[in-house]
Amino acid sequence: MLKRFSLEPSRIALNLAVLFIIALWTFPTAGLLISSLRDKNDIAASGWWTALASADVNKKGRLKGMADQVEKDGKFTVSGNLFEGADAVSGKVSAYGTKVQAPGANAAGSAVTLDNGQTLQVNGDGSYVLSSPTAFTEESGGRVFYIASQPPRFTLENYQTVLFSEGIGRSFINSLTVTIPATIIPILIAAFAAYALAWMKLPFRGLIIAIIVGLLVVPLQMSLIPLLKLYNAAGTFMGVPSKTYLGVWLAHTGFGLPFAIYLLRSYIAGLPKDLIESAQIDGANDFKIFRRVVLPLCFPALASFAIFQFLWVWNDLLVAIVFLGSGPDQLVLTGKLNALLGSRGGNWEILTASAFVTIIVPLTVFFSLQRYFVRGLLAGSVKGG
């Protein structure tokens, strides 16, 4: 066996190499996640990788005026806090100055004598004391420019925006409306067909199997024009809209069937013969055998196809934009995101949060059901669609 724990230089190099590759692979997604949690002004102002460290921002504030002065021992003082007020920021003042050109002239905590003889001291927490030998006469005090170092700020505001006012929430529901039936219906239809092709006596069985396997090669794009024409004709004929959820479910079912039947048939055909035969002797008909014996046994195959199909339908853009309308009641997440890329291309706070909403479901499915997913993938190298 290979040694798994040791501290040889080659092992360390190996670990570092893998770490490097993983960093490379997760960096783009990490960028998306971190950005989506940042303030929208921050996203446009600095790279997401700076979000974890505290950032220096230049700020300005105005000191209080005569109304707040206090006289003590013949000296007049005004005190307050730069962080209080309308555009208050939290953080820490690292330096300050009274000229816009030099906001970092004086370190926080040090006192400075101004041109008019007043003394100003700004502390790290934003508090300041301005003292003068004569009384203050101005309505409001002078301006102070300072550098505040802000701790990392994260917010869920972007998510609130996209979910409730950008229509992502609605598209999320549309996506579920498309995906759930488009996953269950093909499983059901394919499982019945696979059982029939594996265990039931019927003419042309070999031919049907060959045709179904042959259909694995048909590229999806090919079906679009003829189907769209068919849908339009059917829609006009029956006087219903041609773009319906039913239409998109059936389309996904049709496109997913060859792979589903192929995968399930080879699994169901591999079940022990005795099992089926003994059930037949007990007088069960094929419908009963299928429900009671076969269905529970082929759960792993059903699960791997279900995950495969779920991710495929959820992530699909082409079928959805061709067979579903682009109104808010039908636009799915991928379509919505694609539309946002065009219309809100510069609004990274919208794009990043929306993108994360669209990928959170597949990622959850993937991480929780990874085992089945990998199995489906191993079989799925033949999927054409």
Partner: protein, 337 residues
Amino acid sequence: MTAQILYAFITVILGVGGCFGYFYGSNWLLDKTFPANANNDASAVRNLRIQANIRPWLFLGPALLLLTVYLIFPVIQTLWLSFHDRAGDKFVGFANYTWAFYDDQFRLSIFNNILWLAVVPALCTLMGLIIAVLTDRLWWGNLAKSLIFMPLAISFVGASVIWKFVYDYRGEGQQQIGILNAIVTYFGGDPQVWISLPFWNNFFLMAILVWIQTGFATVILAAALRGIPEDTLEAATIDGAGPFKIFYRIMVPQIYSTILVVWTTITVLVLKIFDIVLTMTNSQWNTSVLANLMFDWMFRGGGDFGRGAAIAIVIMVAVLPIMIWNIRQANAEQKGH
């Protein structure tokens, strides 16, 4: 929102329920019409035989119907359309194909597709192989593999947003928020508008697919590596072979057929690549590929079903031999086990 959820819920229940209803209903009807427990034996036997003849078609019916409507009919129809003019009325022979042959945009798309074919499958397989071998010897290898594998669960559109962010460009002197330009400017280079960079922009789009598909290659190749008998590796080690020699001489030959399957699977995917180009560049800046060209001719402005269909046929003809090879390979492997 609540109304929408309720509506969605009802739609889902109706759709799925209808499907269940068909199978239960049709089988129930069959059992009722030809009861197996009929009053005399002769009719019971007859009914059972009728049931056995009808039931397979009840099981197969929906699948055959859907396959016919959604795959067989479109293939025939597309073939037919590709020999007809833009509206599909007049037979034009091979005119659509000869048009494609001389069309600059088509040639560009073919060229780009070949570029993709040359780069993506090779790079994915190579990276997958390297990662599979490296992680095989780590105690946290499985975690590493899931992280590499993760992009596979992300939609192409989602991936495009992620990568647009990576490639984001700000004018010189401004702070770059795209990581690629940030790195370039950090080392003193000039920021670039990556996705409109002539010729090279293709490679930046390919990077996305490599990012997505390497996980697929890794997982499948890692499974194959597990299948290599331990004693062949041990024998090679005893004979004094170094790790690189073991890799080239022992590991690669033994998983050669799996490498080919991975390679061809990604090749098929690349031939049909569509979403990434649509969402990243929308075929602008000379990044068009066949599927996008077809889409434009069919649905956008082009409005020429004949030409679109001809391009679809070209894609299918290109995919066909590889898929056939793949399926035969998969069947051979199944028989072998």
